[in-house]
C-alpha cells in the first residue's frame, strides 16, 4: 500500500508538471561523463589492460522544473553496454523532489559514489559487491529532499519504491538485479535518512526491504549505516551493511563493512588506504578480507592516476592467492 501510494502520487505530480509547467526549450542540454582505464597485474594470474568503462551522461532541463538525466555505460571495451540510469526529476517544491524512472538506489554512500573518478580506491569494497550489489539501480519512484538543520547543515531523506531484486531461493543477490519488468506483484521499498554538518561530517542510516522470490514468499531486508568526515584534505569514511535473506533452509545473514581514509598532501597527491570485509556466516568461502593501499595523482581537476596494491584474503581451502597491483587512469569530464 505504501509503495502504491508513493508511486501513484508521484506519477500524478509528474503528469501535472508536464501539463502545467511553462514551456521552455531544453536548457543547458549537455553530454558529460567519465572513463576508466586500468592495468591489472594479479598474483598468479594474467596481467591485462582493461577499458573498464566509458560512461556518457546526458543531462538537461526540459520544461520548467522538469529535469532529465541518463547515463549509458560501455564496460570492458564494449563487452557490456547498459543503461545505468534514465530518470525524470521534478524539482518544484522546497523540501521535496520527485524522481521517476531508472535510478541508482541511494542505499548507503558507495552505491551512488562508485564511479572510478570519484571512488579513491580502484574496485568495489567487499560488502558492496555481494551484499548490496553495487551498482544497484532499479526502476520506480523516489522522493528526495533536504531540510535545513542549522547554518549550512541539513537533514536529507530518500524514500523509494522500486521493482526490487528477483531471483532463485537463497541465490546470490548480485545476480538478482535487472528486474526491469517486474516478474512478480511485489515491490521493494527503501529509505535513507542522513544528517550533513557544515564542519564536514555526514552520518546516515538506510533500509531496503522487499520480496525477491514471490512464488515462495521469500524476502530480503537490508539495513545499513554510513558515516564520513572531511576536513582540510583529510577524509575518513566507513559503511556497514547487513542483509537478511530468507531461504527455504532458514535465513541467510550477509554482512559487509569497509573503512577508508585519505589525505590530500598537496593538490596533486593523495595517499589512500581502504579495508573491507564480507562475512557470510555458514558459507566460509564468502568470508573475504581486503586491504588496498596506494596513491592518487591528480594532473588536473578532472583526471586521476591511481596506483594501488590490493591484498585479498579469502577463508577457503586451499587459500586463494589473488593479490593485485592496479594502475588506474580515470577522467570525469
Amino acid at each position: 500500500m505504501i509503495a502504491k501510494t508513493i508511486g501513484l502520487s508521484s506519477m500524478l505530480a509528474l503528469g501535472c508538471t508536464l501539463l502545467l509547467a511553462p514551456a521552455a526549450n531544453g536548457q543547458g542540454l549537455m553530454v558529460t561523463g567519465y572513463a576508466n582505464i586500468e592495468y591489472i597485474n594479479p598474483q598468479g594470474g594474467t596481467h591485462t589492460f582493461d577499458a573498464h568503462n566509458l560512461n556518457l551522461i546526458l543531462i538537461g532541463k526540459l520544461r520548467g522544473d522538469l529535469f532529465a538525466a541518463g547515463e549509458i555505460e560501455y564496460e570492458h571495451g564494449g563487452e557490456e553496454i547498459a543503461l545505468e540510469y534514465a530518470y525524470l526529476a521534478f524539482t518544484r517544491w522546497r523540501n521535496l523532489n520527485i524522481v521517476a524512472g531508472k535510478f541508482i538506489v541511494p542505499f548507503g554512500s558507495f552505491n551512488v559514489n562508485h564511479p572510478a573518478w570519484i571512488n579513491k580506491v580502484p574496485g568495489r569494497p567487499f560488502g558492496f559487491d555481494r551484499v548490496l550489489p553495487a551498482t544497484y539501480n532499479d526502476i520506480g519512484v523516489m522522493l528526495r529532499g533536504a531540510l535545513p538543520a542549522g547554518f549550512l547543515s541539513r537533514v536529507t531523506y530518500d524514500v523509494w519504491a522500486v521493482n526490487g531484486l528477483a531471483g532463485a531461493p537463497g541465490g546470490d543477490l548480485r545476480g538478482m538485479r535487472d528486474n526491469l519488468i517486474d516478474v512478480d506483484k511485489s515491490k521493494s521499498l527503501g529509505g535513507r535518512l542522513a544528517f550533513v554538518h557544515r564542519l564536514g561530517f555526514e552520518i546516515a542510516a538506510s533500509v531496503l526491504t522487499g520480496t525477491y522470490n514471490d512464488s515462495l514468499g521469500l524476502g530480503v531486508t537490508m539495513i545499513g549505516a554510513d558515516a564520513a568526515f572531511q576536513r582540510s584534505g583529510f577524509e575518513i569514511k566507513g559503511e556497514v551493511v547487513q542483509a537478511t535473506q530468507q531461504a527455504p533452509g532458514g535465513d541467510l545473514k550477509k554482512n559487509g563493512f569497509y573503512a577508508q581514509t585519505s589525505y590530500l598532501v598537496v593538490a596533486w597527491l593523495e595517499p589512500t588506504v581502504r579495508y573491507s570485509q564480507m562475512d557470510f556466516p555458514g558459507a566460509s568461502n564468502r568470508d573475504l578480507r581486503e586491504i588496498s593501499a596506494g596513491v592518487s595523482l591528480y594532473p588536473s581537476d578532472i583526471g586521476a592516476l591511481r596506483l594501488f596494491y590490493r591484498i585479498n584474503g579469502e577463508r577457503s581451502v586451499p587459500e586463494v592467492k589473488d593479490n593485485q597491483f592496479i594502475a588506474q587512469f580515470t577522467v570525469g569530464f
Partner: protein
C-alpha cells in the same frame, strides 16, 4: 498489494514516512538564513569529487550541472538557489565580460577612456575597510581564508590553490585594474563576482585585499 519481507523492520519506514510529512509542512519562514553560494560550493562540492573550475562550463551548462548535482547531493532549496546564483551568475558575468571585451576590441577609440566595461577603477575616494572586509568575509574567506592566505576550508579541494592575497611580492605584480577584472570576471578556479557584487562593491573588496598583511 505491496508485500514487505517477512520479519522485516517496518519501524524505520514508518519513521521515514513521518519525517517526510513533517518536511512537507515546514513553512519557508521557519527555515534558516540563506547561505552564500560560495559557502555552499566550498562545503559541499568537494565532498564527493574534485571541485570543478568555475569556468569549466557555460552559464546554461552550469544550470543543468547545478540541478543535477544539487539533486544528487540533496542540497536544501536555499543552498541550491545560492550555489546556482554563484556559479551560473559568475558564468553569465564572464560571458558578458567576454562579449563586452569583444565589442571593445571592435570599437577601441570610443571605449578606451572608460577602461574595462563593468569595472569601476579605484580612486582617491575609495574605500571603507569595514565594507570591503564584510564582503571579503562573506564571499572570499571560504577559499582564501580569513587572512587571505589561500588557506580557506575549500582550498584543499582546489587545483590550482587559491592565491595568497597577503603575499606582498605577488600582489605588487597585479595592477588595480587586473584585480578588479579578476574579481569581476573570475580566473581559473575563482568565479567572477560581476553579477553578485556591484562595481562599487568589487572596488571595495579589492581595496580591502590591498590592505591585507602577510
Amino acid at each position: 498489494m505491496f508485500a514487505l519481507a517477512k520479519g522485516s523492520k517496518e519501524t524505520p519506514l514508518v519513521g521515514l514516512g513521518a519525517l517526510l510529512l513533517a518536511l512537507l509542512v515546514v513553512p519557508a519562514s521557519a527555515q534558516q538564513q540563506k547561505p552564500s553560494g560560495a559557502d555552499v560550493w566550498s562545503t559541499n562540492c568537494g565532498r564527493c569529487h574534485r571541485v570543478r573550475a568555475v569556468d569549466a562550463y557555460t552559464a546554461s551548462q552550469w544550470e543543468s550541472v547545478v540541478t543535477h548535482m544539487a539533486l544528487t547531493a540533496r542540497l536544501t532549496y536555499d543552498e541550491t538557489q545560492a550555489v546556482r546564483e554563484f556559479l551560473v551568475g559568475a558564468a553569465q558575468a564572464r560571458e558578458r565580460a567576454a562579449s563586452s571585451a569583444a565589442s571593445a576590441s571592435r570599437q577601441p577609440l570610443r571605449l578606451a577612456s572608460r577602461g574595462n566595461v563593468g569595472v569601476v577603477p579605484l580612486d582617491s575616494r575609495c574605500c571603507d575597510p569595514t565594507v570591503g572586509g564584510a564582503i571579503f568575509k562573506a564571499q572570499c574567506v571560504a577559499c582564501h581564508g580569513p587572512g587571505g592566505k589561500g588557506n580557506g576550508p575549500a582550498a584543499a579541494a582546489l587545483n590550482p590553490r587559491p592565491a595568497n592575497l597577503a603575499d606582498a611580492a605577488r600582489m605588487e605584480k597585479l595592477s588595480d585594474d587586473s584585480l578588479l577584472q579578476i574579481v569581476t570576471a573570475g580566473r581559473l578556479t575563482m568565479p567572477g563576482y560581476g553579477r553578485t557584487l556591484t562595481p562599487e562593491q568589487v572596488r571595495e573588496v579589492v581595496a580591502y585585499v590591498r590592505g591585507l598583511k602577510p
